[in-house]
Protein backbone atom coordinates (compact mmCIF):
# COMPACT_ATOMS: atom_id res chain seq x y z
CA UNK A 1 0.00 0.00 0.00
CA UNK A 2 1.51 3.38 -1.00
CA UNK A 3 0.22 6.73 0.20
CA UNK A 4 1.34 10.35 0.38
CA UNK A 5 1.20 12.56 3.50
CA UNK A 6 1.71 16.34 3.52
CA UNK A 7 4.47 17.37 5.88
CA UNK A 8 2.10 19.94 7.37
CA UNK A 9 -0.31 17.24 8.52
CA UNK A 10 2.36 14.98 10.00
CA UNK A 11 1.85 16.40 13.54
CA UNK A 12 -1.89 15.67 13.28
CA UNK A 13 -1.10 12.05 12.49
CA UNK A 14 1.11 11.84 15.58
CA UNK A 15 -1.64 13.40 17.77
CA UNK A 16 -4.13 10.83 16.45
CA UNK A 17 -1.88 8.07 17.81
CA UNK A 18 -2.58 9.02 21.43
CA UNK A 19 -3.44 5.40 22.29
CA UNK A 20 0.17 4.51 21.51
CA UNK A 21 3.32 5.36 23.45
CA UNK A 22 5.08 7.49 20.83
CA UNK A 23 8.87 7.71 20.58
CA UNK A 24 10.71 10.07 18.25
CA UNK A 25 14.24 11.48 17.97
CA UNK A 26 14.67 14.24 20.54
CA UNK A 27 17.61 16.63 20.68
CA UNK A 28 19.44 17.43 23.91
CA UNK A 29 22.48 19.75 23.50
CA UNK A 30 24.24 18.14 20.53
CA UNK A 31 23.06 14.56 21.03
CA UNK A 32 19.89 13.06 19.55
CA UNK A 33 18.17 10.04 21.13
CA UNK A 34 14.83 8.24 20.83
CA UNK A 35 12.64 9.43 23.71
CA UNK A 36 8.93 9.42 24.52
CA UNK A 37 7.56 12.64 23.03
CA UNK A 38 5.26 14.93 24.94
CA UNK A 39 4.29 17.44 22.27
CA UNK A 40 3.44 16.02 18.79
CA UNK A 41 3.83 19.47 17.27
CA UNK A 42 7.52 19.57 18.06
CA UNK A 43 8.50 16.21 16.46
CA UNK A 44 11.48 17.03 14.23
CA UNK A 45 12.46 14.45 11.64
CA UNK A 46 15.51 16.36 10.38
CA UNK A 47 18.15 14.78 12.59
CA UNK A 48 21.65 13.27 12.30
CA UNK A 49 22.43 9.75 13.57
CA UNK A 50 21.11 9.20 17.12
CA UNK A 51 23.62 8.17 19.79
CA UNK A 52 21.73 4.98 20.70
CA UNK A 53 19.62 3.08 18.16
CA UNK A 54 15.93 2.19 18.73
CA UNK A 55 17.28 -1.17 19.97
CA UNK A 56 17.33 0.40 23.45
CA UNK A 57 13.51 0.48 23.42
CA UNK A 58 13.01 -3.13 22.32
CA UNK A 59 16.07 -4.64 24.05
CA UNK A 60 16.51 -2.22 26.99
CA UNK A 61 19.89 -1.91 28.67
CA UNK A 62 18.39 -3.24 31.92
CA UNK A 63 15.28 -5.35 32.46
CA UNK A 64 14.07 -7.22 35.51
CA UNK A 65 12.82 -10.59 34.34
CA UNK A 66 12.38 -12.53 37.59
CA UNK A 67 11.56 -11.59 41.16
CA UNK A 68 12.34 -13.94 44.04
CA UNK A 69 11.26 -13.58 47.63
CA UNK A 70 11.15 -15.92 50.57
CA UNK A 71 8.87 -15.82 53.60
CA UNK A 72 8.59 -18.17 56.54
CA UNK A 73 5.15 -19.53 55.59
CA UNK A 74 5.49 -20.34 51.91
CA UNK A 75 9.27 -20.50 51.51
CA UNK A 76 10.78 -19.34 48.24
CA UNK A 77 8.52 -17.78 45.62
CA UNK A 78 9.41 -16.90 42.04
CA UNK A 79 7.52 -14.40 39.93
CA UNK A 80 8.13 -14.01 36.20
CA UNK A 81 8.19 -10.31 35.27
CA UNK A 82 7.00 -9.75 31.71
CA UNK A 83 7.25 -6.35 29.93
CA UNK A 84 4.08 -4.26 30.34
CA UNK A 85 1.40 -4.07 27.69
CA UNK A 86 2.43 -0.87 25.92
CA UNK A 87 1.62 -0.60 22.22
CA UNK A 88 4.21 1.89 21.02
CA UNK A 89 5.36 3.61 17.86
CA UNK A 90 8.88 4.77 17.04
CA UNK A 91 9.12 7.51 14.43
CA UNK A 92 12.22 8.39 12.45
CA UNK A 93 13.78 4.92 12.46
CA UNK A 94 16.71 4.83 10.05
CA UNK A 95 16.65 1.84 7.64
CA UNK A 96 19.99 0.60 9.01
CA UNK A 97 18.66 0.56 12.62
CA UNK A 98 15.54 -1.29 11.45
CA UNK A 99 17.66 -3.86 9.55
CA UNK A 100 19.69 -4.27 12.75
CA UNK A 101 16.52 -5.23 14.63
CA UNK A 102 15.63 -7.67 11.86
CA UNK A 103 19.05 -9.30 12.47
CA UNK A 104 18.55 -9.37 16.25
CA UNK A 105 15.16 -11.00 15.63
CA UNK A 106 17.04 -14.00 14.19
CA UNK A 107 19.18 -14.30 17.35
CA UNK A 108 16.24 -14.20 19.77
CA UNK A 109 14.16 -16.74 17.88
CA UNK A 110 15.12 -20.31 16.96
CA UNK A 111 14.78 -23.23 19.37
CA UNK A 112 14.81 -21.04 22.53
CA UNK A 113 12.50 -18.11 21.76
CA UNK A 114 13.21 -15.14 24.01
CA UNK A 115 9.71 -14.15 25.17
CA UNK A 116 10.87 -10.89 26.78
CA UNK A 117 12.38 -9.62 23.54
CA UNK A 118 9.42 -10.76 21.43
CA UNK A 119 6.79 -9.34 23.75
CA UNK A 120 8.32 -5.89 23.28
CA UNK A 121 9.16 -6.40 19.60
CA UNK A 122 5.56 -7.32 18.74
CA UNK A 123 4.03 -4.33 20.46
CA UNK A 124 6.33 -1.69 18.88
CA UNK A 125 5.59 -0.37 15.40
CA UNK A 126 8.64 0.96 13.55
CA UNK A 127 7.98 3.92 11.26
CA UNK A 128 11.10 4.35 9.13
CA UNK A 129 12.49 7.51 7.59
CA UNK A 130 14.55 6.97 4.41
CA UNK A 131 17.87 8.83 4.38
CA UNK A 132 17.88 11.44 1.62
CA UNK A 133 21.17 12.77 3.11
CA UNK A 134 23.50 10.36 5.00
CA UNK A 135 22.83 11.01 8.71
CA UNK A 136 26.48 10.42 9.56
CA UNK A 137 29.73 11.06 7.69
CA UNK A 138 30.56 7.38 8.22
CA UNK A 139 27.48 5.68 6.72
CA UNK A 140 28.35 2.59 4.68
CA UNK A 141 25.01 0.72 4.53
CA UNK A 142 25.44 -0.02 0.80
CA UNK A 143 28.48 -2.18 1.50
CA UNK A 144 26.61 -4.55 3.85
CA UNK A 145 23.53 -5.37 1.71
CA UNK A 146 21.66 -2.35 3.05
CA UNK A 147 20.46 0.89 1.45
CA UNK A 148 19.24 4.35 2.53
CA UNK A 149 15.67 3.17 1.89
CA UNK A 150 15.74 -0.55 2.76
CA UNK A 151 12.54 -1.78 4.40
CA UNK A 152 13.62 -4.84 6.41
CA UNK A 153 12.24 -4.74 9.96
CA UNK A 154 10.04 -1.72 9.22
CA UNK A 155 6.23 -1.50 9.41
CA UNK A 156 6.10 1.79 7.47
CA UNK A 157 8.73 3.66 5.46
CA UNK A 158 8.40 7.43 4.97
CA UNK A 159 10.52 9.04 2.23
CA UNK A 160 11.01 12.80 2.09
CA UNK A 161 9.61 14.47 -1.06
CA UNK A 162 10.25 18.10 0.02
CA UNK A 163 6.65 19.18 0.78
CA UNK A 164 5.30 15.72 1.52
CA UNK A 165 6.26 12.22 2.62
CA UNK A 166 5.90 9.17 0.37
CA UNK A 167 4.48 6.54 2.77
CA UNK A 168 4.86 2.81 2.09
CA UNK A 169 3.14 0.32 4.44
CA UNK A 170 4.40 -3.23 4.85
CA UNK A 171 2.56 -4.75 7.77
CA UNK A 172 -0.77 -5.00 9.58
CA UNK A 173 0.69 -2.90 12.38
CA UNK A 174 1.52 -0.27 9.77
CA UNK A 175 -2.02 -0.35 8.39
CA UNK A 176 -3.46 0.19 11.87
CA UNK A 177 -1.32 3.32 12.22
CA UNK A 178 -2.57 4.62 8.87
CA UNK A 179 -6.19 3.82 9.68
CA UNK A 180 -5.89 5.83 12.91
CA UNK A 181 -5.76 8.96 10.66
CA UNK A 182 -7.06 7.71 7.30
CA UNK A 183 -8.17 11.10 5.96
CA UNK A 184 -4.69 12.63 6.14
CA UNK A 185 -3.27 10.19 3.57
CA UNK A 186 -3.83 10.62 -0.17
CA UNK A 187 -3.04 7.89 -2.73
CA UNK A 188 0.39 8.18 -4.33
CA UNK A 189 0.39 9.50 -7.90
CA UNK A 190 2.71 8.46 -10.73
CA UNK A 191 4.48 11.83 -10.40
CA UNK A 192 5.19 11.09 -6.74
CA UNK A 193 6.63 7.70 -7.62
CA UNK A 194 8.90 9.16 -10.29
CA UNK A 195 10.16 11.83 -7.92
CA UNK A 196 10.73 9.13 -5.28
CA UNK A 197 12.88 7.09 -7.68
CA UNK A 198 14.91 10.18 -8.58
CA UNK A 199 15.47 11.01 -4.91
CA UNK A 200 16.48 7.46 -4.15
CA UNK A 201 19.12 7.20 -6.85
CA UNK A 202 20.60 10.50 -5.64
CA UNK A 203 20.48 9.35 -1.99
CA UNK A 204 22.45 6.26 -2.93
CA UNK A 205 25.14 8.35 -4.58
CA UNK A 206 25.56 10.46 -1.45
CA UNK A 207 26.70 7.47 0.63
CA UNK A 208 30.39 8.31 0.57
CA UNK A 209 31.99 5.41 2.42
CA UNK A 210 32.16 1.76 1.47
CA UNK A 211 34.08 -1.43 2.24
CA UNK A 212 36.37 -2.49 -0.64
CA UNK A 213 35.31 -6.12 -1.28
CA UNK A 214 33.10 -7.35 1.50
CA UNK A 215 32.57 -10.76 -0.13
CA UNK A 216 36.23 -11.69 0.44
CA UNK A 217 36.13 -10.92 4.15
CA UNK A 218 34.33 -13.95 5.70
CA UNK A 219 36.59 -16.55 4.00
CA UNK A 220 39.79 -14.57 4.77
CA UNK A 221 38.73 -14.17 8.40
CA UNK A 222 38.44 -17.96 8.73
CA UNK A 223 42.20 -18.31 8.43
CA UNK A 224 43.12 -15.27 10.51
CA UNK A 225 42.47 -16.51 14.02
CA UNK A 226 46.13 -16.73 15.10
CA UNK A 227 47.44 -13.95 12.87
CA UNK A 228 49.45 -11.07 14.45
CA UNK A 229 47.15 -8.70 12.52
CA UNK A 230 44.92 -8.35 15.56
CA UNK A 231 47.81 -7.25 17.80
CA UNK A 232 48.82 -4.46 15.43
CA UNK A 233 45.21 -3.32 14.76
CA UNK A 234 44.29 -3.21 18.45
CA UNK A 235 47.42 -1.32 19.59
CA UNK A 236 45.46 1.92 19.97
CA UNK A 237 42.29 0.31 21.37
CA UNK A 238 41.47 1.49 24.92
CA UNK A 239 39.16 -1.48 25.73
CA UNK A 240 36.09 0.71 26.40
CA UNK A 241 32.52 -0.36 25.59
CA UNK A 242 31.46 2.41 23.16
CA UNK A 243 31.67 0.45 19.88
CA UNK A 244 29.54 -2.38 21.23
CA UNK A 245 27.05 -0.47 23.39
CA UNK A 246 26.29 1.97 20.55
CA UNK A 247 26.08 -0.76 17.92
CA UNK A 248 22.45 -1.44 16.85
CA UNK A 249 23.18 -5.11 16.13
CA UNK A 250 25.09 -6.04 19.33
CA UNK A 251 22.86 -8.27 21.46
CA UNK A 252 25.17 -9.71 24.14
CA UNK A 253 23.78 -9.56 27.65
CA UNK A 254 24.62 -10.43 31.24
CA UNK A 255 22.45 -11.96 33.96
CA UNK A 256 22.92 -10.90 37.58
CA UNK A 257 21.01 -10.99 40.84
CA UNK A 258 20.21 -7.79 42.71
CA UNK A 259 19.31 -8.28 46.37
CA UNK A 260 16.95 -5.76 47.98
CA UNK A 261 17.00 -7.44 51.41
CA UNK A 262 18.90 -10.52 52.50
CA UNK A 263 16.70 -11.74 55.33
CA UNK A 264 13.94 -12.33 54.50
CA UNK A 265 15.47 -12.76 51.06
CA UNK A 266 13.97 -10.43 48.47
CA UNK A 267 15.53 -9.51 45.16
CA UNK A 268 15.35 -9.80 41.47
CA UNK A 269 17.25 -11.31 38.57
CA UNK A 270 18.06 -8.80 35.87
CA UNK A 271 19.38 -8.82 32.36
CA UNK A 272 21.72 -6.00 31.31
CA UNK A 273 23.71 -5.30 28.18
CA UNK A 274 27.19 -6.76 28.21
CA UNK A 275 30.04 -6.60 25.74
CA UNK A 276 33.00 -8.61 24.57
CA UNK A 277 35.50 -5.79 25.20
CA UNK A 278 35.32 -6.13 29.00
CA UNK A 279 37.55 -8.70 30.77
CA UNK A 280 34.81 -10.29 32.92
CA UNK A 281 32.81 -11.21 29.79
CA UNK A 282 34.64 -14.51 29.32
CA UNK A 283 36.71 -14.91 32.51
CA UNK A 284 36.18 -18.31 34.14
CA UNK A 285 35.68 -18.35 37.92
CA UNK A 286 39.12 -20.01 38.07
CA UNK A 287 40.61 -16.82 36.66
CA UNK A 288 41.44 -18.39 33.28
CA UNK A 289 40.33 -16.09 30.44
CA UNK A 290 40.14 -17.48 26.91
CA UNK A 291 40.18 -13.89 25.59
CA UNK A 292 42.64 -12.18 27.92
CA UNK A 293 43.79 -9.18 25.85
CA UNK A 294 42.38 -6.48 23.59
CA UNK A 295 43.72 -8.16 20.45
CA UNK A 296 41.57 -11.26 21.05
CA UNK A 297 38.59 -9.05 21.78
CA UNK A 298 38.92 -6.96 18.63
CA UNK A 299 39.23 -10.26 16.75
CA UNK A 300 36.04 -11.53 18.44
CA UNK A 301 34.10 -8.36 17.54
CA UNK A 302 35.13 -8.46 13.88
CA UNK A 303 34.86 -12.26 13.48
CA UNK A 304 31.45 -12.43 15.20
CA UNK A 305 29.99 -9.78 12.89
CA UNK A 306 31.67 -10.73 9.62
CA UNK A 307 32.21 -14.48 9.83
CA UNK A 308 30.41 -16.34 12.62
CA UNK A 309 27.09 -14.51 12.03
CA UNK A 310 27.50 -14.94 8.26
CA UNK A 311 27.99 -18.70 8.66
CA UNK A 312 25.08 -19.01 11.09
CA UNK A 313 22.48 -16.56 9.70
CA UNK A 314 23.76 -15.78 6.15
CA UNK A 315 23.91 -12.00 6.90
CA UNK A 316 26.66 -9.63 7.98
CA UNK A 317 25.85 -8.59 11.55
CA UNK A 318 26.52 -4.98 10.62
CA UNK A 319 24.16 -2.55 8.91
CA UNK A 320 26.66 0.23 8.22
CA UNK A 321 25.32 2.92 10.60
CA UNK A 322 28.85 4.22 11.30
CA UNK A 323 28.32 4.83 15.03
CA UNK A 324 31.35 2.74 16.06
CA UNK A 325 33.51 4.79 13.68
CA UNK A 326 32.18 8.20 14.72
CA UNK A 327 32.38 7.61 18.48
CA UNK A 328 35.55 5.54 18.89
CA UNK A 329 37.75 7.56 21.28
CA UNK A 330 40.90 6.72 19.31
CA UNK A 331 39.44 6.70 15.82
CA UNK A 332 39.60 2.96 15.10
CA UNK A 333 37.68 2.69 11.84
CA UNK A 334 35.97 -0.64 11.18
CA UNK A 335 36.00 0.06 7.42
CA UNK A 336 39.80 0.43 7.43
CA UNK A 337 40.17 -2.70 9.53
CA UNK A 338 37.95 -4.64 7.12
CA UNK A 339 39.78 -3.29 4.07
CA UNK A 340 43.06 -4.47 5.58
CA UNK A 341 41.45 -7.87 6.30
CA UNK A 342 40.23 -8.32 2.73
CA UNK A 343 43.73 -7.58 1.40
CA UNK A 344 45.54 -9.59 4.09
CA UNK A 345 47.84 -12.41 3.14
CA UNK A 346 49.29 -13.38 6.56
Amino acid sequence: MEKVLDKKSFPQWVTKLSSYKVYAPVQEDEAWNYEVITNPEKVNLDFPNTVLSPKKIIFPQREVYLEFSSSDEDGLELKEVLPEEEPSVIFGVRPCDARALALTDKVFSGDFEDIYYWKRRNQVALVGLACSVPPSPNCFCLSVDGSPFSTEGLDILMSDLDSKYFVEVFSKKGEQLINAAKTLFKPATEKDKKELEKNRTEAKKRISRQIQNIKKIPPVLKGMFDSPFWDEESMSCLRCGICTYLCPTCHCFDINDEVLSSSPLKGRRIRTWDNCQFPDFTMHSSGHNPRPDKASRLRQRIMHKFQYFVDRYKNYQCTGCGRCISRCPVGIDIIEVLDKVSSYEG
Binding site: Y65, L66, F68, S70, G75, L76, L78, E80, V107, F108, G110, D111, F112, E113, D114, I115, Y116, F225, D226, H251, C252, F253, D254, I255, N256, D257, V259, S262, L265, G267, R269, D274, C276, F281, T282, M283, H284, S285, S286, P290, R291, S296, Q300, M303, H304, Q307, Y308, D311, R312
Partner: protein, 274 residues
Protein backbone atom coordinates in the same frame (compact mmCIF):
# COMPACT_ATOMS: atom_id res chain seq x y z
CA UNK B 1 2.67 -20.50 25.50
CA UNK B 2 6.12 -22.07 25.12
CA UNK B 3 7.68 -22.27 28.56
CA UNK B 4 10.16 -19.55 29.36
CA UNK B 5 13.52 -21.29 29.71
CA UNK B 6 14.98 -18.40 31.73
CA UNK B 7 12.74 -19.10 34.75
CA UNK B 8 14.19 -21.82 36.99
CA UNK B 9 12.02 -24.54 38.53
CA UNK B 10 12.27 -24.79 42.30
CA UNK B 11 13.95 -27.91 43.65
CA UNK B 12 14.68 -29.17 47.13
CA UNK B 13 18.08 -30.59 48.06
CA UNK B 14 17.18 -34.01 49.47
CA UNK B 15 20.68 -35.31 50.15
CA UNK B 16 24.18 -33.86 50.38
CA UNK B 17 27.22 -36.17 50.45
CA UNK B 18 30.68 -34.72 51.07
CA UNK B 19 32.98 -36.35 48.50
CA UNK B 20 36.18 -34.45 49.15
CA UNK B 21 37.14 -32.13 52.00
CA UNK B 22 40.04 -29.70 52.25
CA UNK B 23 40.83 -26.60 50.18
CA UNK B 24 39.10 -27.84 47.02
CA UNK B 25 35.99 -29.49 48.50
CA UNK B 26 33.51 -31.41 46.33
CA UNK B 27 29.98 -32.29 47.40
CA UNK B 28 27.33 -34.34 45.64
CA UNK B 29 23.80 -32.96 45.78
CA UNK B 30 20.64 -34.87 45.12
CA UNK B 31 17.76 -32.61 44.18
CA UNK B 32 14.04 -33.17 43.68
CA UNK B 33 11.68 -30.79 41.92
CA UNK B 34 8.93 -29.37 44.11
CA UNK B 35 6.23 -29.19 41.46
CA UNK B 36 6.36 -31.18 38.22
CA UNK B 37 9.05 -33.71 37.64
CA UNK B 38 8.88 -33.55 33.84
CA UNK B 39 12.55 -32.74 33.52
CA UNK B 40 13.98 -35.15 30.95
CA UNK B 41 17.57 -34.94 29.71
CA UNK B 42 20.32 -36.85 27.86
CA UNK B 43 23.65 -37.97 29.37
CA UNK B 44 26.22 -35.21 29.26
CA UNK B 45 23.68 -32.39 29.34
CA UNK B 46 23.95 -29.65 31.95
CA UNK B 47 21.58 -27.63 34.06
CA UNK B 48 21.84 -24.04 35.30
CA UNK B 49 21.63 -24.12 39.10
CA UNK B 50 20.32 -20.95 40.77
CA UNK B 51 21.19 -19.74 44.25
CA UNK B 52 18.82 -16.80 44.52
CA UNK B 53 20.63 -13.64 45.53
CA UNK B 54 23.98 -15.00 44.38
CA UNK B 55 23.57 -16.05 40.78
CA UNK B 56 23.60 -19.09 38.52
CA UNK B 57 26.18 -21.72 37.61
CA UNK B 58 26.17 -24.31 34.81
CA UNK B 59 26.77 -27.80 36.24
CA UNK B 60 26.69 -31.14 34.40
CA UNK B 61 24.07 -33.63 35.56
CA UNK B 62 25.91 -36.67 36.93
CA UNK B 63 22.90 -38.94 37.53
CA UNK B 64 21.69 -41.18 34.72
CA UNK B 65 18.53 -40.07 32.83
CA UNK B 66 17.02 -43.48 33.62
CA UNK B 67 16.53 -42.30 37.23
CA UNK B 68 13.37 -40.14 37.16
CA UNK B 69 12.86 -39.07 40.75
CA UNK B 70 16.03 -37.06 41.44
CA UNK B 71 18.88 -35.22 39.74
CA UNK B 72 22.43 -35.51 41.02
CA UNK B 73 25.12 -32.83 40.75
CA UNK B 74 28.73 -33.08 41.97
CA UNK B 75 30.03 -29.58 42.59
CA UNK B 76 33.57 -28.34 43.20
CA UNK B 77 33.65 -25.24 45.42
CA UNK B 78 35.05 -22.60 43.07
CA UNK B 79 33.26 -19.24 43.11
CA UNK B 80 30.35 -17.27 44.55
CA UNK B 81 27.50 -19.55 43.52
CA UNK B 82 29.25 -22.87 44.18
CA UNK B 83 30.43 -21.61 47.60
CA UNK B 84 26.85 -20.80 48.61
CA UNK B 85 25.78 -24.25 47.37
CA UNK B 86 28.43 -25.79 49.62
CA UNK B 87 27.01 -23.91 52.59
CA UNK B 88 23.50 -25.27 52.03
CA UNK B 89 21.84 -27.99 54.10
CA UNK B 90 19.47 -30.71 53.10
CA UNK B 91 15.97 -29.30 52.61
CA UNK B 92 17.18 -25.96 51.20
CA UNK B 93 15.61 -24.72 47.97
CA UNK B 94 17.54 -23.94 44.81
CA UNK B 95 16.48 -23.23 41.23
CA UNK B 96 17.21 -25.52 38.28
CA UNK B 97 16.67 -24.68 34.64
CA UNK B 98 17.61 -26.61 31.56
CA UNK B 99 18.56 -29.14 30.26
CA UNK B 100 21.18 -27.42 28.14
CA UNK B 101 23.86 -28.61 25.77
CA UNK B 102 24.00 -31.42 23.20
CA UNK B 103 24.91 -34.34 25.50
CA UNK B 104 26.83 -37.49 24.48
CA UNK B 105 25.74 -38.98 21.10
CA UNK B 106 25.21 -42.45 22.63
CA UNK B 107 23.13 -43.64 19.73
CA UNK B 108 26.34 -43.59 17.63
CA UNK B 109 28.12 -45.78 20.19
CA UNK B 110 25.92 -48.86 19.92
CA UNK B 111 28.00 -52.04 20.21
CA UNK B 112 31.21 -50.20 20.91
CA UNK B 113 33.59 -50.70 23.85
CA UNK B 114 33.43 -47.58 26.01
CA UNK B 115 36.59 -46.24 27.63
CA UNK B 116 35.95 -43.50 30.18
CA UNK B 117 38.95 -41.39 31.24
CA UNK B 118 38.30 -38.88 34.05
CA UNK B 119 40.34 -36.50 36.15
CA UNK B 120 39.25 -34.93 39.46
CA UNK B 121 35.73 -33.46 39.19
CA UNK B 122 35.76 -34.51 35.48
CA UNK B 123 34.24 -37.81 36.66
CA UNK B 124 30.87 -36.04 37.21
CA UNK B 125 29.79 -35.77 33.53
CA UNK B 126 31.20 -39.26 32.87
CA UNK B 127 29.21 -40.74 35.79
CA UNK B 128 25.91 -40.17 33.98
CA UNK B 129 26.92 -41.80 30.67
CA UNK B 130 28.85 -44.62 32.41
CA UNK B 131 25.85 -45.74 34.47
CA UNK B 132 23.49 -45.42 31.50
CA UNK B 133 25.82 -47.72 29.48
CA UNK B 134 25.94 -50.20 32.41
CA UNK B 135 22.15 -50.13 32.74
CA UNK B 136 21.68 -50.96 29.04
CA UNK B 137 24.22 -53.82 29.21
CA UNK B 138 23.40 -55.46 25.88
CA UNK B 139 23.62 -52.34 23.72
CA UNK B 140 27.29 -51.59 24.29
CA UNK B 141 30.56 -53.53 24.39
CA UNK B 142 32.45 -53.79 27.66
CA UNK B 143 33.35 -50.53 29.36
CA UNK B 144 36.41 -49.48 31.31
CA UNK B 145 37.05 -46.51 33.63
CA UNK B 146 40.44 -44.86 34.02
CA UNK B 147 40.20 -42.22 36.76
CA UNK B 148 42.78 -40.24 38.68
CA UNK B 149 42.95 -37.41 41.19
CA UNK B 150 45.66 -35.41 42.93
CA UNK B 151 45.60 -37.52 46.09
CA UNK B 152 43.44 -40.40 47.29
CA UNK B 153 41.49 -37.90 49.41
CA UNK B 154 40.50 -36.07 46.20
CA UNK B 155 38.83 -39.14 44.68
CA UNK B 156 35.07 -38.66 44.26
CA UNK B 157 32.37 -41.38 44.56
CA UNK B 158 34.76 -43.57 46.63
CA UNK B 159 32.09 -46.10 47.78
CA UNK B 160 30.42 -46.21 44.35
CA UNK B 161 33.82 -46.86 42.70
CA UNK B 162 34.32 -49.90 44.94
CA UNK B 163 30.85 -51.13 43.84
CA UNK B 164 31.66 -50.38 40.21
CA UNK B 165 34.77 -52.61 40.25
CA UNK B 166 32.44 -55.61 40.40
CA UNK B 167 30.78 -54.62 37.11
CA UNK B 168 33.66 -53.23 34.99
CA UNK B 169 37.42 -52.73 34.90
CA UNK B 170 38.35 -49.66 36.99
CA UNK B 171 41.90 -48.26 36.94
CA UNK B 172 42.53 -45.60 39.56
CA UNK B 173 45.57 -43.40 39.99
CA UNK B 174 46.92 -40.59 42.16
CA UNK B 175 49.35 -37.96 40.93
CA UNK B 176 51.90 -38.33 43.74
CA UNK B 177 53.25 -41.33 45.71
CA UNK B 178 51.19 -41.95 48.83
CA UNK B 179 51.54 -44.46 51.72
CA UNK B 180 49.07 -47.30 51.31
CA UNK B 181 48.33 -46.66 47.66
CA UNK B 182 48.77 -49.85 45.61
CA UNK B 183 47.52 -48.75 42.20
CA UNK B 184 49.11 -46.56 39.52
CA UNK B 185 50.97 -43.44 40.64
CA UNK B 186 51.27 -40.65 38.09
CA UNK B 187 49.09 -38.51 35.84
CA UNK B 188 46.06 -39.99 34.15
CA UNK B 189 47.45 -39.68 30.59
CA UNK B 190 50.43 -41.86 31.63
CA UNK B 191 48.05 -44.38 33.18
CA UNK B 192 46.27 -44.55 29.81
CA UNK B 193 49.58 -45.40 28.11
CA UNK B 194 50.17 -48.03 30.79
CA UNK B 195 46.75 -49.70 30.29
CA UNK B 196 46.94 -49.48 26.45
CA UNK B 197 43.16 -49.73 25.74
CA UNK B 198 42.61 -51.13 22.25
CA UNK B 199 41.14 -48.70 19.71
CA UNK B 200 39.33 -51.50 17.90
CA UNK B 201 35.58 -50.81 17.87
CA UNK B 202 36.05 -48.46 20.85
CA UNK B 203 34.94 -44.95 21.92
CA UNK B 204 36.98 -42.92 24.43
CA UNK B 205 35.31 -40.23 26.55
CA UNK B 206 37.57 -37.96 28.56
CA UNK B 207 36.64 -35.12 30.96
CA UNK B 208 38.82 -33.24 33.41
CA UNK B 209 41.23 -30.33 33.61
CA UNK B 210 42.16 -29.00 30.13
CA UNK B 211 45.82 -29.92 30.59
CA UNK B 212 44.89 -33.56 31.26
CA UNK B 213 42.53 -33.69 28.26
CA UNK B 214 45.29 -32.39 25.99
CA UNK B 215 47.73 -35.19 26.90
CA UNK B 216 45.05 -37.91 27.10
CA UNK B 217 44.04 -37.13 23.51
CA UNK B 218 47.71 -37.14 22.45
CA UNK B 219 48.26 -40.56 24.03
CA UNK B 220 44.99 -42.01 22.70
CA UNK B 221 46.03 -40.99 19.19
CA UNK B 222 49.43 -42.59 19.78
CA UNK B 223 47.54 -45.78 20.71
CA UNK B 224 45.80 -45.65 17.33
CA UNK B 225 42.48 -43.99 18.25
CA UNK B 226 40.92 -42.01 15.38
CA UNK B 227 39.73 -38.41 15.98
CA UNK B 228 36.07 -39.50 15.63
CA UNK B 229 36.55 -42.08 18.42
CA UNK B 230 37.58 -39.50 21.03
CA UNK B 231 34.94 -37.35 22.80
CA UNK B 232 35.43 -34.64 25.41
CA UNK B 233 33.55 -31.78 27.08
CA UNK B 234 34.60 -28.11 26.94
CA UNK B 235 34.22 -25.57 29.74
CA UNK B 236 33.56 -21.86 29.19
CA UNK B 237 31.90 -19.09 31.17
CA UNK B 238 28.14 -19.36 30.66
CA UNK B 239 25.27 -17.11 31.62
CA UNK B 240 22.20 -17.79 29.44
CA UNK B 241 22.77 -21.46 28.53
CA UNK B 242 20.87 -21.12 25.24
CA UNK B 243 23.40 -19.54 22.84
CA UNK B 244 22.11 -15.94 23.03
CA UNK B 245 24.29 -14.02 25.52
CA UNK B 246 27.32 -14.31 23.26
CA UNK B 247 30.14 -15.17 25.66
CA UNK B 248 30.82 -18.90 25.58
CA UNK B 249 31.68 -19.15 21.90
CA UNK B 250 34.69 -21.00 20.54
CA UNK B 251 34.77 -19.72 17.01
CA UNK B 252 31.30 -20.13 15.54
CA UNK B 253 30.10 -22.62 18.20
CA UNK B 254 28.25 -21.62 21.37
CA UNK B 255 29.57 -24.19 23.90
CA UNK B 256 26.38 -24.03 25.99
CA UNK B 257 24.12 -24.94 23.03
CA UNK B 258 26.27 -26.56 20.32
CA UNK B 259 28.52 -28.17 22.99
CA UNK B 260 29.77 -28.94 25.61
CA UNK B 261 30.38 -32.42 24.09
CA UNK B 262 32.66 -32.46 21.06
CA UNK B 263 34.48 -35.21 19.24
CA UNK B 264 38.14 -34.44 18.74
CA UNK B 265 37.45 -34.46 14.98
CA UNK B 266 35.22 -31.37 15.50
CA UNK B 267 37.19 -29.75 18.33
CA UNK B 268 40.58 -29.82 16.64
CA UNK B 269 39.30 -27.52 13.85
CA UNK B 270 37.86 -25.02 16.33
CA UNK B 271 40.02 -22.15 17.61
CA UNK B 272 41.66 -22.53 21.01
CA UNK B 273 39.16 -20.22 22.76
CA UNK B 274 38.32 -22.25 25.90
Amino acid sequence: MKDNTYIPKLAKIIQIKEEVGGARPIKTFMTQFIQDNSFSFKCGQCAMLSVFGKGESMISISSTPLIRDYLQFSILKMGRVTSSLHEMQEGDIIGIRGPYGNGFPMEKWKGKNLIFIGGGIGLAPIWSVLHTALEKKGEYGDSMLVYGARTSKDIVFKQELAELRKKMKVHLSVDVEEPGWQEFVGFVPLNVLEIKPSPKNAIAVTCGPPIMIKFVIQNLKALGFEDEQIYTTVENKMKCGIGKCGRCNIGLHYVCKDGPVYSWAELKNLPQEY
